[in-house]
Amino acid sequence: MTIRIVEQTFEPWSLLADYERFELAENIGKYGAAAVFVGSMRDFNLGDGVIGMTLHHYPGMTEKQLAAILVDANSRWALLDTLVIHRVGEVQPGDTLVLVAAWAEHRGDAFDASRYIMEALKSRAPFWKRETLAAGQSRWVEKNSDGYKV
């Protein structure tokens, strides 16, 4: 169970490769399923071009809430490991904002848990986005989409 808040650009796929190599070495052959979600910054939102974003958070509470979410997920599904990495600070379109991964023996658990963690993060983890629009002004993102509709 790993949580990281990072201030620099990160490449999710090489990070996952390293994570499996160093953190899951003892579990190779044990997990049959890894379900992963990667959220990236888009260059448009609500009909406007977006050229940059600042991700704010509440240091301490963010980590505490993410840990509680992973504890919840581990109590609900049979998981071998869970990982959440979230970016903060100045981000550019295309940058990875969030990585969620769940490893399990069976795919149902991994799928359920990765989605649960992501939705819980969206509703409970104290992060806030401030977008800089192509037109020059900036604005707070008011609320997240619910994840179940387009």
């Binding site: 704010h56 509470m61 505490k64 809430q65 993060l121 969206k122 992060f127 986005k129 609320k143």
Partner: protein, 77 residues
């Protein structure tokens, strides 16, 4: 008692401060604390409250040394 108060995101802009230090005698709820510190502001729609980094309701009672945070709906991920 002494309470540390934090504001985040759009609420920080609205309040015009990042933090307050509140010293007080006797019982007070998180909601009453907000109104006392920000008497000229309407209660923000959908405002979230945390006490010691856990979500709490506006009628939750505060204790000496608590950290209280006020912020808008979260938009991470």
């Amino acid at each position: 008692m002494s309470i540390k108060v934090l504001y985040f995101a759009s609420l920080q802009d609205r309040v015009g401060r990042q933090a307050d230090e509140f010293v007080w005698d006797g019982p007070i709820s998180a909601g009453a604390l907000w109104r006392r510190l920000n008497p000229d502001l309407a209660w923000p729609d959908n405002m979230l409250i945390a006490i010691n980094m856990d979500y709490a309701s506006s009628d939750a009672a505060l204790n000496d040394g608590d950290e209280v945070a006020f912020f808008p709906p979260v938009t991470g991920g």
